[in-house]
């Protein structure tokens, strides 16, 4: 069953097309990343799915409810972290959370305060619960905004740049929470981010968008392979000689072999690193080569993303 389904979702602002015929399916409990440069259409997509703005064309269903005919049901099922923390700075952290928890239908006072307390304690904000939000740092506001998004235990979360502006420790706390929500509570998370590290660590699948359209969608591994081609095995040697080079070149799995003089290593391009690595190492050893290290080099998602966006922008 899919938690989010869109079909030809389009949003135009006068003559400008912000999102252009976007179709995607996000499974229950999946963490799905929406990547792309500024102005790619990520936030507009999220706003349409959260029923904040209406699509110009196409359709979408969130938690089984149509975004146009059943917006209240959609809003009840969704927790959203917007670009800005969107917190009331003159209210305390507790007053903010109490208001939003009630607005999302958490009516039982005991259950509400238990939930709020658990989340504030998770983010180390409980001691500051009676302080006005205006006195909070940017990172604390961001954490509090995440508490707001999750306070009513929504089955679906839309998070726009959740780790933006956070220190590494806080960013890790948020990634841990997202992982826990996905794995333990089976929450579906749509994550808009520039932080490819977040996408790489959390997302089962990612979609890269540019100029309102989907460029590519798949798992981070698939994207890396699709965009940057075959993996390269780097075999570090004490010394590269002709016999070792010939032995490796003779292996049918080696598609391309080059020598890296700086690293004193052979760079072997293969189709499947898992099956090729033991065979190649064995060939080197039999040819009396002294192996110092073996690494499978894959481009990071960031490298793949940058390459793809660069190619897209050239077109």
């Amino acid at each position: 069953m899919y938690s989010v389904v869109t079909e030809g979702l389009t949003k135009k602002f006068n003559s400008f097309t912000a999102v252009n015929h976007l179709s995607l399916e996000i499974g229950e409990g999946e963490v799905f990343g929406l990547l792309g440069p500024n102005g790619a259409g990520k936030t507009t997509t999220l706003r349409m799915l959260a029923c904040l703005i209406a699509p110009t064309e196409g359709s979408a269903a969130v938690a089984g409810y149509d975004i146009q005919s059943d917006p209240l049901k959609v809003r009840q099922s969704v927790g959203i972290l917007t670009e800005n923390p969107s917190l009331y700075e003159r209210l305390t952290a507790l007053e903010n959370m109490d208001f939003f928890a009630q607005a999302y239908g958490l009516l039982d006072p005991q259950e509400r305060s238990r939930r709020i307390r658990a989340l504030l304690e998770f983010f180390n904000l409980w001691d500051r619960r009676n302080d006005k939000v205006a006195t909070f740092s940017k990172g604390m506001k961001q954490k509090l905004a995440i508490v707001r998004a999750t306070v009513h235990k929504p089955p679906i979360l839309f998070l726009d740049e959740p780790t933006a502006g956070l220190d590494p420790e806080s960013a890790k706390e948020i990634r841990d929470l997202m992982a826990a929500l996905s794995q333990q509570e089976k929450s579906t998370i749509l994550l808009c981010t520039h932080h490819l590290e977040d996408a790489e660590k959390l997302c089962r699948r990612v979609m890269i968008m540019n100029r309102g359209t989907c460029i590519i969608v798949g798992s981070p591994d698939e994207l890396r392979e699709k965009i940057s081609g075959q993996p390269v095995i780097q075999i570090g040697l004490k010394q590269v000689n002709a016999k070792v080079l010939a032995a490796v070149k003779a292996n049918p799995q080696a598609k391309e072999v080059t020598v890296n003089p700086q690293e004193v290593a052979l760079m072997v391009t293969v189709d499947d690193a898992r099956s090729a690595t033991p065979e190649l190492v064995e060939e080197v050893v039999q040819a009396k080569g002294q192996v110092l290290s073996v690494n499978v080099l894959r481009p990071s998602l960031e490298e793949a993303y940058l390459k793809l966006i660069k190619e897209e922008n050239k077109q």
Partner: protein, 277 residues
């Protein structure tokens, strides 16, 4: 529409307003001026011999107004000393339109903060993402402008009436000037209808502008008809008697209905978000 949700929005907005001196100061200071300073002028006139001596000249300035008052009032004024006429005209008629400024000012300041202020402070997106309906948000936010505006108006009226009556009690031989029918209709009939009109217009303006100050500045335009009423009364063109006030209430109710219909139309999430600063 869920009343609990309306109350929730009201409570949240009221907490914010209570902690915002930029909003609280004008809605406290202006009523203090009208409820305390205006009657102080009357007290000064009634108690200072020098001021009393110049009353004859001042009464002449109100002659166009007096000439258009009902016959029984004119007959009563004819029996009074110039000093008493001056005090009576000022306390009962001249200052009355000033009390129409209080609900307009209070409701437009609070309304601007509640609607346009949320846009300016970038809190509106999270609020609009909640399952609260447009009607619940609109009503909750309208009430947070309406209830305090009315409270301030009523308290100002009671303070004004008390000061006037205490100050003029011996001068008019025990006759209480306030309240009378005109003031009761004005305060309990006209001001609520006017406050609703002001709130409706503030909602419409706030949906179109990006910030609190912009909305408030445009809302000030609402004071122009009130100043028109003030000058019309002084010049004798229009006397705010019970009939005129009843007609004014009827007109304002029609305007309120039209404005609220329009307000509901413009209170759309996408429209509000697209004009966020």
């Amino acid at each position: 529409m869920n009343r609990r949700n309306v109350w929730l929005v009201f409570k949240k907005d009221w907490l914010e307003i209570k902690r915002n001196p930029q909003v609280l100061l004008p809605i406290v200071i202006v009523p203090i001026i009208f409820a305390v300073v205006l009657p102080a002028i009357v007290v000064l006139i009634s108690s200072t011999p020098a001021a009393a001596g110049s009353s004859q000249n001042s009464v002449e300035g109100f002659l166009p107004l007096i000439a258009n008052l009902p016959q029984d009032i004119q007959a009563m004024l004819a029996q009074m000393e110039p000093n008493q006429v001056m005090v009576y005209i000022m306390a009962v008629y001249f200052f009355a339109p000033f009390f129409l400024i209080i609900p307009i000012m209070a409701s437009s300041v609070m309304g601007s903060d509640s609607f346009a202020g949320e846009k300016e402070r970038k809190t509106i997106e999270a609020l609009l993402a909640t399952p609260l309906t447009d009607g619940e948000l609109l009503l909750g936010k309208s009430l947070v402008s309406f209830i305090p505006a009315m409270a301030v108006t009523f308290v100002s009226f009671f303070v004004y009436g008390a000061i006037i009556d205490v100050a003029t009690y011996s001068m008019f031989n025990g006759m209480l000037l306030i309240p009378n029918a005109v003031w009761l209709i004005l305060i309990f009939g006209v001001t609520p209808a006017l406050a609703l009109c002001s709130i409706g217009l503030t909602v419409i303006i706030s949906a179109r502008v990006k910030g609190f100050k912009e909305a408030q500045q445009i809302s000030v335009v609402l004071l122009l008809p009130i100043l028109g009423l003030l000058f019309a009364q002084v010049s004798g063109l229009l006397i705010l008697g019970p009939v005129v006030l009843a007609a004014l209430i009827g007109l304002l109710v029609l305007v309120d209905i039209a404005i609220f219909y329009l307000g509901m139309k413009v209170f759309q999430r996408e429209e509000i978000l697209s004009r966020q600063s």
